[in-house]
């Protein structure tokens, strides 16, 4: 379905488009968004392809010394008693594993206490907040039964009774059974959710399942390319690619559409369940910046400091 829509857009505009993921908005600004897309496409069509900036890997191929070896990324409010974690900056431009540099990662996000019970709470919440229990059993009044007395009060030798809906009867009602659609919605406190994301990221980093990549640009949209890449690097059976926005490059979306176990996600869709479900987690550099900024902001926030602030309005996403 997604592939068909992509090819329609390419056919009509004759440029390399950015594919947008569907996302349900609170306000009815969907029309506004479509206009924005068209404008963006026309802007790209008017601009020449020669002015396009070369990727980090292209720069590396031309002159390995020109690419900066990033050893000290600026970390916000880093605790002076905790060492920042370090990770390689890799690339998806070749099947072989080439390292472009090294990054510093914030310890309050990527080296948090590995608490399994926080992960458990997050997983349970993700499962249960959407759940609706549809079980419904009829009670005495709901049974389709005549109201008359089943047998005379005395003389039968049996216990006295009234109508057939009684709970003592075999075919009678169930007392206090489940009643109707019942929502199991609840909100896990914010700190649990923030720390859940931090612990999941810490586990991925600690167990060597986290990889940071300059961008999700790949040379071809051939699914074999991506499969070879993942196999040579031993990234495992399932992988989750995370980019900072929901505008994804064309080639990777076509390639990964063939595989159910390799998935792409924007930063706003990052959740504990998906991080643990996929064996490896691949983040782009822009995604890492965004994740750090957001999680640090929310981990140090409380009701008092958020009382009159407009920092997290949903329409400023």
């Amino acid at each position: 379905m997604l592939g068909q829509t992509c090819r329609k857009i390419t056919g009509s505009l004759n440029v390399s488009p950015r594919i947008e993921f569907k996302r349900y908005l609170w306000r009815n600004s969907i029309c506004q968004q479509k206009i924005d897309i068209t404008l963006k496409y026309t802007d790209e069509a008017s601009g020449s392809i020669a002015n396009k900036e070369p990727t980090l890997y292209e720069k590396f191929l031309k002159n390995p010394k020109s690419v900066p070896l990033i050893t000290s990324r600026k970390l916000e409010n880093c605790n002076k008693y905790r060492q920042p974690r370090q990770a390689w900056l890799e690339t998806l431009s070749t099947v072989e594993d080439h390292k472009l540099g090294m990054l510093d990662l914030h310890p309050d996000i990527f080296a948090v206490h590995p608490r399994l019970d926080i992960l458990y709470h997050n997983l349970r919440w993700q499962e249960f907040y959407k759940k609706i229990d549809y079980n419904w059993t009829p009670s005495r009044g709901d049974l389709d039964v005549s109201g008359g007395k089943q047998m005379p009060q005395k003389g039968s030798g049996r216990a006295r009774n009234r109508n057939r809906s009684s709970i003592m009867f075999r075919t009678g009602a169930k007392p206090l059974g489940p009643k109707g659609p019942r929502a199991l919605f609840y909100m896990l406190p914010k700190q649990y959710r923030v720390q859940g994301l931090c612990t999941a990221l810490s586990f991925k980093y600690a167990q060597n399942n986290l990889h940071i990549v300059d961008s999700l640009e790949i040379p071809t949209d051939d699914p074999e390319y991506i499969q070879d890449l993942i196999d040579t690097r031993f990234w495992g059976f399932s992988a989750l690619f995370v980019d900072d926005t929901d505008y994804m490059p064309e080639n990777i979306t076509y390639a990964l559409a063939e595989f159910p176990s390799y998935n792409i996600l924007p930063v706003y869709g990052l959740n504990v369940r998906d991080m643990l479900k996929h064996e490896t987690l691949i983040l782009t550099l822009a995604a890492v910046e965004k994740i750090e900024q957001k999680l640090l902001f929310h981990s140090s926030r409380n009701k008092r400091s958020s009382r009159f602030s407009m920092d997290t309005r949903y329409d400023q996403y």
Partner: protein, 291 residues
């Protein structure tokens, strides 16, 4: 560094996935026992009739109407927190003079808390919140030796008696860990621990130890000299000139605020069997012990 150790452990353990995550046992609530099992029919473990079966038992501690045990004894706030306060067990000047006369203490050396404890006539129990010696006035008229003494608490009269005879008294604070080393140095050195760095007094004691009237070790020496003169005038004795005395070098002996033993610095380990002293080489240790 529990977090670092935990993350190192996690590295070698199997991959954390959806199938191996459990809740912590403290969070797992036990379900309410409905008592519907085998043998729990009919009365469900409640017996026959009465308050036990009918959920009308009285509250815990109730004694059928009269005042119960837990309300009979009233609360007494007079001694509240007394077991947590600092205690300075007293040592009178009479006993001190007796120790000097018997030969337990040498007036030609600085009389320290450790020298007094090692005589065996004075006991200090650090675990009972004893923070040092309180030199009391009893025997002030019989006291007759010029000494250089270091105590933790002294009143005006004791200071006057000692200074009248040409001696020197200092009040000095030691924290409990330092006192453990001071009260029995031999056993402390045998443990193999380094000599501790003496900590500064707590906020409610800082005033006392920086007051020249009580000859505190944190006070200004010039002000102490002024107070000596003032005290001599108050009690009506001639203040002897210490610069003319024979024991000048002894009377001028002072310890650093972080030092516990004369001649030994914090951070050193004393080996009594081999008669050696081990000093720390690492920079971070030297930084810590010199601060």
């Amino acid at each position: 560094m529990g977090i670092e150790k935990a993350l190192r452990l996690v590295k070698d353990l199997p991959r954390v996935a959806l199938n191996n995550i459990k809740n912590s046992p403290m969070d797992q609530k036990k379900p309410h026992n409905l008592r519907r099992g085998w043998g729990k029919n009919k009365t469900h473990g409640r017996g026959h009739k009465g308050q036990g079966q009918r959920m009308t038992l009285p509250k815990l501690g109730f004694e059928t109407g009269h005042k119960p045990f837990y309300l009979r004894v009233p609360q007494e706030y007079y001694y509240e927190g007394h077991h947590l306060k600092r205690q300075y067990p007293p040592l009178s000047l009479l006993r001190l003079q007796r120790m000097i006369d018997m030969g337990c203490l040498d007036p030609n050396e600085v009389i320290d808390i450790s020298s007094i404890c090692m005589t065996g006539h004075y006991h200090l129990h650090v675990d009972r919140r004893h923070y040092g010696i309180n030199l009391t006035e009893e025997g002030a008229e019989k006291f007759s030796t010029p000494i250089c003494i270091e105590v933790q608490w002294a009143s005006e009269m004791t200071i006057a008696t000692i200074e009248r005879l040409g001696g020197v008294i200092m009040t000095r604070f030691y924290d409990p860990l330092s006192l453990i080393a001071l009260q029995d140095p031999e056993t402390y050195f045998k443990t193999g621990k380094p000599i501790p760095k003496c900590k500064l007094p707590p906020t409610d004691a800082v005033e006392y130890y920086s007051d020249p009237k009580f000859r505190g070790y944190l006070a200004d020496p010039e002000k102490i000299a002024e107070e000596r003169v003032a005290l001599s005038q108050k009690y009506g004795y001639d203040l002897p000139d210490l610069s003319e005395s024979d024991k000048l070098s002894l009377l001028l002996k002072r310890k650093d605020p972080r030092q516990i033993f004369f001649g030994l610095h914090p951070g050193w380990i004393v080996n009594l069997t081999e008669k050696k002293i081990l000093k720390p080489k690492a920079e971070y240790l030297q930084e810590y012990y010199h601060s």
